[in-house]
Amino acid sequence: MWESFLGLYNYWIVILLMMAGFYIVMSRHNLVKKLIGLSIFQSSVFLFYISVGKVADGTAPIIEEGISSYSNPLPHVLILTAIVVGVATTSLGLALVVRLKEAYGTIEEDEINEMDAAD
């Protein structure tokens, strides 16, 4: 019981991060904090993919004499793409926050909502 529970510790971390990130996105009104939450949420998925690629007792996927078992490189390659996407999303989001700050003078979403409603 404990073994299987602890053996899957990386997946537990994934779930923990995912929920933490998701909670931050939903509960915070500060636009930057929201983006940080989003980033954590995405990172959890990166970890998930990396965990999926791990093969028990496997080494790095480099072909060499005497090595028969190595990790699956494909998820790692895939997640490289996803990381790039994540970086792009975060930077675009932050750029938007900068513009929002210029336009509204605040980065608190409830204040922005008030100003939107007043227009």
């Binding site: 929201k34 998925v45 929002l100």
Partner: protein
């Protein structure tokens, strides 16, 4: 050359985008964007033609054999979607010249076309690819560029709308990514056709079920299924007019395609509709979406927002067709997807013309505009009739098939509901028409003229399409039927 059409479909706009970035000159960028959009339409039409004649096309990227390499697959379903997306693009591009010119500062215009081309490439890529992870990549290309496009709106609310969409869209895309990851964990493949084969013996697996949930909910966010639609009204309302047209006509349609592709081709009909209660779930969401969002649309005081709410309601009709889980229901849903693309594009095109002249789309601002811009508002009226579903317009045909599908199942109340909710559409369309035609313009307004020809022609192309596909329906109905039977037949 003809063998490489599938990759050209995506690579053309993808290469044109950085080219525009290098050129930066507004007019040159517009020329490139227009040319590329038209080429894309030509390619999409050729592809659909090939598919209808010779069956599914499979294109191995870089000659890497599937399921290891990435594969582009064009069958009847996505051939149809490709044409929708490319056609909207081809109509929007010429329209952008004047509309964008008036709504964006000079230095942003070149960048606008960069984003537009990226968005087009992303949407076409999502549609054409046969690889689950590739869908995610193109999804993010189109999403990131559309966040940027929306934020270009003139009012500061556009920034806020873009931010909200960014958060919601990223959550949706990440959900999708999780789902794909789970599927890969179970099967070791990302190729959709291969996935379908590998998943058959795994129907009882809980992980596959989780993957199904993540993918459907993730795409549901992008598709703006009620109640995951909250980002859409603001995004459509505050984006530049051209962007509203383009996104309204394409973005949700492509998301719906992904949902269809996964629940029919990848997971299979039996898994989605027999093992899981997807049909009833969709039915409830669709009906709630239609009723609630139509009612909300009635109370909007900005025409673009009104149209955006109506879009969410119309997505409900498409899902309704899907929820019947019959060939004719699916056909009706697909048909409505096509028809709604041309209806909503037409309506937003008309509003873009109004915005160009008035600088506002608020209800009180457009009073009496019908007399000053008769062609524009006549176009709006005709597309509006199509939205309601008045014959002989395109909107009637898809509603007809929807009702027929409901009757075939014996669901009388649903059929009645489709007819009754059309009355709600009468109310919100008429609200605009009445103000525009029968109310006197506000005293402060000066005399304004008709919109320029470069914007009227795209509008009237859409109006013509609405009338044409309301009368001569053999083309699109047959393709929708073929696509629907292919989807249903492949799994039964």
């Amino acid at each position: 050359m003809a063998d490489h059409l599938p990759i050209l479909q995506v690579i053309l706009p993808l290469i044109a985008a950085p080219l525009c970035l290098l050129v930066r000159h507004a007019l040159a960028c517009w020329l490139i964007a227009t040319l590329v959009s038209w080429l894309c339409l030509a390619i999409a039409v050729l592809l659909l033609h090939q598919v209808l004649d010779g069956g599914t096309i499979r294109y191995q990227l870089g000659n890497w054999v599937a399921p290891w390499g990435i594969e582009y697959v064009v069958d009847r379903l996505n051939g149809f979607i490709l044409v929708i997306v490319a056609a909207i693009g081809a109509v929007v591009a010429p329209y952008a010249l004047r509309s964008i010119d008036s709504e964006l500062p000079e230095r942003q215009i070149g960048l606008f076309y960069v984003m537009y081309l990226l968005c087009l490439a992303g949407l076409l890529g999502i549609t054409i690819t046969g690889d689950a992870f590739n869908v995610f990549v193109f999804l993010e290309i189109s999403s990131l560029s559309s966040y940027a496009l929306i934020s270009m709106g003139r009012h500061r609310k556009a920034l806020h709308a873009a931010y909200q969409y960014l958060v919601m869209g990223t959550i949706g895309a990440t959900f999708f990514l999780i789902g794909v990851g789970l599927l890969y964990m179970m099967t070791g493949t990302l190729n959709m056709a291969d996935l379908a084969d590998q998943l058959k013996p795994l129907a009882g697996s809980r992980i596959v079920l989780a993957a199904f949930g993540f993918i459907v909910v993730g795409m549901g966010l992008k598709l703006a299924v009620f109640p995951l639609h909250l980002w859409l009204p603001n995004a459509y309302a505050h984006a530049p007019s051209t962007v509203s047209v383009f996104l309204a006509g394409t973005a949700t349609k492509v998301s719906l395609y992904v949902v269809l592709r996964f629940i029919f081709t990848v997971f299979g009909f039996e898994f989605s509709f027999v093992n899981q209660p997807l049909g009833p779930a969709l039915l409830v969401l669709a009906i709630a979406g239609i009723v609630v969002c139509s009612l909300v649309a009635i109370y909007q005081d900005n025409v673009k927002r009104l149209l955006a709410w109506s879009s969410v309601a119309q997505i409900g009709y498409m899902l309704l067709g899907l929820s019947f889980a019959t060939a004719i229901g699916l056909q009706a849903g697909l048909l409505h997807m096509f028809n709604h693309a041309i209806i909503k594009a037409g309506l937003f095109l008309a509003m873009g013309c109004v915005f160009l002249r008035l600088g506002s789309c608020r209800i009180e601002a457009i009073a009496g505009v019908g007399r000053q811009m008769p062609w524009t508002m006549m176009g709006f009226l005709l597309c509006g009739l199509s939205l309601i579903g008045v014959p002989p317009t395109a909107g009637f045909v898809s509603k007809w098939y929807l009702v027929l599908a409901a009757l075939e199942k014996g669901w009388w109340p649903v059929a009645a509901l489709i007819v009754l909710t059309s009355l709600l559409a009468v109310v919100y369309v008429w609200k605009v028409v009445e103000v525009a035609w029968f109310r006197d313009p506000p005293g402060t307004a000066g005399r304004i003229g008709e919109a320029p020809l470069a914007m009227l022609v795209p509008l009237w192309i859409m109006v013509g399409a609405n009338l044409w596909f309301g009368l001569e329906t053999s083309g699109n109905v047959d393709v929708a039927r073929a696509a629907a039977t292919a989807l249903m037949g492949a799994v039964q």
